[in-house]
């Protein structure tokens, strides 16, 4: 028998670590979703697709999704900022680069994300912009017609999107004191979760039926990959040390079992995967149900991983 009593006192770690509330999961989700949008739209740009409608739309080749991503990542950064305890010193992120710190990488990746998003928007400028500043129209048209520029922007969007998506997971992986997080597979997991949420949203929002079909199909591929990665994640934990095994137990009988298997995996991955598989084979109609489930599932994944990770701990006895 063993008993451990500690007199440690800190509102941040009693009774277990709880440094991050809603802000970080929301930020991680919005970051991942933005990453997914950038990859999808970047791919469309790289392929030379173009939306000829005069106004911006939510098709992959238009700027609507980029505009939303711009808003989403900004909201995400606001959430991140709200989480900081020493807010006035936030500028300290940008007077240094710490190569060992995923968060420092993230800060700089976010700096790269903005010009790429902006470029994506300018390649199919919304009417609000062109109507207000008509002087810009000739220049913008020139840019939009430059195929090389479109392809480079697409490439950059894919690159920064993948980096952003992976970073949102690696951010947690680097915190080795929490065994649940100390797995680099969180990088791909969050990337694919971001891709699936982005594809789900685009599938739901796209004005073109063929594109919607295409997005539903690739969303299914993303969801299937995500499911596989979730299983690999758990296999990784359960085949590691006692601390990692105990962390996995949070999902295998522990406090997070129901929310993880029912919420994240069941409703967030498996059910929409089934619905969309039936939809792409035209056995059921496309409805917003599956995309909404995927998006909520992606959000739930971040909440569950951030919350459960803070409970998982190296054990002393």
């Amino acid at each position: 028998m063993s008993e451990l009593i500690s007199t440690a006192q800190s509102p941040w770690v009693d009774p277990h670590l709880h440094v991050w509330g809603w802000e970080i999961p929301v930020y991680l989700f919005l970051g991942g979703w933005t990453a997914g949008i950038m990859v999808l739209c970047g791919w469309a740009l790289w392929k030379g697709q173009r939306d000829e409608r005069p106004h911006a739309t939510f098709s992959l080749a238009s700027s609507g999704l980029f505009i939303l991503a711009f808003a989403a990542i900004s909201l995400g950064m606001l959430a991140l900022f709200l989480d900081l305890e020493h807010k006035l010193f936030v500028w300290r992120l940008y007077v240094t680069f710490e190569p060992a710190s995923p968060m420092s990488w993230g800060a700089w990746i976010l700096i790269l994300v903005y010009p790429v998003l902006l470029m994506g928007i300018l390649l199919d400028p919304p009417l609000t912009l062109t109507n207000r500043v008509p002087q810009l129209v000739p220049l913008l048209k020139k840019l939009a017609d430059n195929l090389t520029l479109r392809r480079i922007t697409g490439l950059l969007a894919i690159g920064t999107g993948v980096a952003l998506g992976i970073y949102t997971g690696i951010l947690l992986s680097a915190l080795g004191a929490r065994p649940l997080w100390s797995s680099a597979i969180l990088g791909p997991l969050f990337l694919f979760s971001g891709l699936s949420a982005a594809a789900a949203f685009a599938h739901w929002a796209s004005p073109d039926q063929p594109e919607r079909e295409y997005l539903a199909k690739i969303d299914n591929q993303f969801l299937a990959s995500e499911l596989a990665i979730v299983l690999l994640f758990l296999i990784g934990l359960t085949t590691s040390t006692e601390a990692h095994l105990q962390a996995a137990q949070l999902f295998l009988g522990g406090a997070y079992t129901a929310v993880f298997w029912v919420g994240v995996v069941g409703l967030g991955i498996v059910l929409p995967l089934i619905i969309q598989s039936l939809a792409v084979t035209h056995r059921v109609p496309h409805t917003p149900l599956a995309p909404v489930l995927v998006i909520l599932g992606g959000l739930a994944l971040r909440f569950v991983i951030v919350s459960a990770g803070q409970i998982s701990h190296w054990s002393r006895l």
């Binding site: 028998m1 008993e3 009593i5 007199t7 006192q9």
Partner: protein
């Protein structure tokens, strides 16, 4: 009894200069200018001595930019060796405590309701003096009693003696160390005294019978205990609980509570039977050994086994272990020994075991301390009381060598041998200190005056008519500490900062009260510095030196018989009394005997209590530093028992004792470290006084549950480990 020990008094005149040259220097400003001011810049260090417990370690307080910062051990201090205990280190919290008493209070409604009117010192002391004069006129001065704890009570004692009352008592005797001092005095002719002259540092075998050194934090004892442990001394611990000390022990004897005398007899039986004792020592200094030998003969380890639950083989092994290391085998006398009402005999058995080991007066045993000589202030003689003391009529407790608090309480209730109508209470929380709270409250109902002087509120202050706020030790002078010890010294307490509100030092309170009582001739000095200078100069020292140095050490005396200390035993036989004729003549066992303890009601657990290292009595729970280290107590319950009750760590239960008294909720600590038939909690928590906002109703009060006590027939000590509780789950 009551004989003043004729130990060596050491003159320390002239030592001051030498010590001054050797010691480091601190900068104290003269007089009360030593107090902090907002304009003060930089670091100021002031030597003084601690008051968070009775050990009186010398300390250095640091003020940074006019704000009190920290208190540390004085590097020249023989007691602390420059390292204070956690309570002393947290002493700064006493100054910052938001629950401090701030102004004199007069009761504004019925007693105990804790509704007050703030008044001026003049009004408060005028009221007290008027009441005291009235009591004196009606019942005589003896009808006012003083309860006092600690060095700060000196001047109030003086005022009360000058007023004409001899009734001055402290719970430190009948509720604490009384049985020990009487048990040793009956055996060796000297009490143990404080700080205990236990040579733990040099002991090769240390036996602790229920003493939880390390959890009780008497600084020097703990430091020397660590030295003993670190140097590989053989530690034997007897305790129903696996204490911290037990975890350091070579042998842990998980004894059935209340059966220590059986174990001690069995040990002595083995040591006598196997002739393991120090024959030369016993022959030279012992009295009545043959009769003693015959007395212990029947009490074999096999006899003791069913009584104590300790295996005979373990009893033999530990007895031999003790003998192997003698005379550097110290069976510790303990301190708080009022457990079962047979405590004097139990501790006398400990004394006898030490005598068999030849450890009294020997290196690694109990050394003979030196006492510095500083003459008392030459006051006029006090008025002689015709009635005598009230606490122990007809010497009902023939070996009581000090006044009995519980005796004063009983006289207050019964009016016999004469009425007591006024209580002055200095720095002791009688409600939590005395067993049987109902009796204390009943006594209070009979009073015409109850005055409490303290730095913080307390349950007893809640019952008072007048509450007088005292400055903390960091804000006041006190009487000198003339310290008997291995390295004797004289130390000064002096103000470091000013009192933040309308608090006053006890010397000022006692003097002002004395003047209001018309006792001017007993206060020939105008202020404390004059008093201290007078005493110090009479001893060849100066106040200036002490203010600068904090303490002056006397020459180191010889400590052991082998170093030339002359063995002297102030017993009737002049020897170590293995067999006590005076006990026999008084109708008691001349050699201790075991009586099995009364079992509790079925399904109940014996309530044991003890100390935490970060708190002193019930006086520090509001200290903002110490309360962060521990802000409530827990009830230790054996894990198997807790499982049976379906209790997990952190669950809360109420404790209900055999008389139906129910405690506040207390957290359960399921642990293997306690016998299944007992529960244990730290004393001092569970405050019910609204004056203690930060500690109010935090944890549970053991005192509240100690409704029964067994009075020691030898000296009137109150054995308190005879209460039983059940666990009442919170719905």
């Amino acid at each position: 009894m009551n004989r003043v020990s004729r130990r060596r008094f050491l003159k320390i005149a002239g030592v001051g200069a030498g010590a001054a040259a050797a010691g480091s220097s601190f900068t104290a400003l003269p007089g009360l200018r030593a107090a902090a001011g907002p304009s003060e810049k930089g670091i100021r260090r002031v030597p003084t001595f601690c008051d968070i417990c009775f050990w009186k370690c010398n300390a250095i307080a640091t003020v940074r930019d006019g704000v009190l910062w920290k208190v540390e051990g004085h590097p020249d201090d023989p007691l602390s060796q420059g390292r204070l205990c956690p309570r002393g280190t947290g002493g700064v919290g006493a100054y910052f405590d938001s629950d401090r008493l701030r102004a004199p209070l007069l009761r504004a409604s019925v007693r105990g309701e804790e509704r007050w009117t703030e008044v001026t010192w003049d009004e408060a002391l005028g009221h007290v003096a008027e009441k005291m004069q009235k009591i004196k006129a009606e019942y005589g001065p003896e009808a006012v009693a003083l309860f006092s704890h600690g060095v700060g009570g000196t001047f109030l004692k003086h005022t009360l003696k000058a007023y004409g009352s001899p009734n001055i008592s402290a719970p430190s005797f009948a509720q604490c160390r009384g049985p020990r001092d009487v048990g040793f005095e009956l055996t060796f002719g000297d009490p143990v005294g404080s700080p205990e002259p236990t040579d733990i540092r040099n002991a090769r075998c240390l036996v602790l019978v229920g003493s939880h050194i390390g959890e009780n934090m008497h600084n020097t004892q703990v430091q020397e205990f660590a030295d003993a442990v670190g140097s590989g001394a053989s530690i034997i611990v007897v305790d129903p609980r696996f204490s911290v000390a037990a975890s350091k022990a070579k042998h842990f004897l998980p004894i059935k509570p209340g059966t220590d005398i059986a174990l001690l007899l069995a040990w002595m039986n083995v040591i006598v039977d196997e002739e393991l004792y120090d024959k030369e020592y016993v022959e030279s200094y012992g009295f009545g050994f043959d009769a003693f030998k015959a007395e212990v003969a029947p009490f074999t380890p096999e006899w003791a086994y069913p009584e104590t639950g300790i295996e005979p083989a373990l009893i033999r092994e530990t007895a031999r272990e003790m003998a192997r290391h003698r005379p550097a085998t110290l069976i510790h006398p303990g301190r708080h020994g009022t457990w079962y009402g047979n405590d004097t005999q139990r501790i006398r058995a400990i004394a006898l075991l030490n005598a068999l080991m030849g450890s009294w007066g020997r290196k690694g045993g109990i050394y003979r301390p030196g006492h510095p000589s500083v003459p008392a202030y030459p006051y006029p003689p006090y008025p002689k009381s015709e009635k005598g003391t009230v606490d122990n009529p007809d010497h009902r407790y023939p070996f009581a060598s000090e006044a009995l608090t519980t005796g004063v309480r009983e006289a207050t209730i019964t009016g016999e041998p004469y009425p007591v109508k006024g209580w002055l209470v200095y720095a002791t929380n009688l409600i939590k200190t005395l067993p049987g709270q109902d009796e204390t409250i009943k006594a209070i109902q009979n009073l015409d005056l109850l005055v409490v002087v303290d730095v913080i509120g307390s349950e007893i202050a809640g019952w008072a008519d007048v509450v007088l706020p005292e400055s903390t030790y960091l804000e006041r002078y006190d009487d000198l500490n003339v310290q008997t010890f291995r390295d004797p010294f004289v130390a000064l307490r002096q103000p470091v900062v000013e009192s933040p509100h309308d608090q006053k030092p006890n010397w000022w309170i006692a003097r002002e009260l004395g003047l209001k009582l018309g006792l001017e001739r007993y206060y020939p000095w105008k202020d404390i510095e004059e008093y201290l200078s007078h005493r110090l100069e009479a001893a060849g020292m100066s106040l200036a030196t002490l203010k600068e140095k904090g303490l002056v050490r006397a020459p180191k005396p010889p400590l052991y018989y082998e170093d030339g200390v002359v063995p002297e035993f102030f017993t009737p036989s002049g020897k170590i009394e293995f067999y006590s004729v005076q006990l026999k003549d008084a109708g008691f066992d001349p050699v201790p005997r075991h009586t099995p303890p009364e079992p509790g009601p079925p399904g109940s657990f014996r309530l044991l209590y003890g100390r935490a290292p970060v708190h002193s009595f019930s006086r520090t729970q509001t200290n903002p530093v110490l309360s962060q280290a521990m802000d409530e107590n827990e009830i230790w319950v054996n894990t198997d028992v807790a499982t049976r009750f379906g209790l997990k760590g952190g669950d809360r239960v109420r404790l209900k004792n055999q008389d139906g008294v129910v405690s506040d909720p207390i957290k359960v600590r399921p642990t293997q470290a306690i016998r299944p038939d007992c529960v244990y909690m730290v004393h001092g928590f569970g405050h019910s006084s609204k004056m203690l906002k930060k500690a109010y109703r935090k944890g549970a009060s053991d005192s509240q549950l100690i409704t029964r006590y067994a009075t020691d027939p030898l000296m009137g000590g109150t054995g308190m480990n005879i209460n039983f509780v059940t666990l009442e789950q919170e719905a």
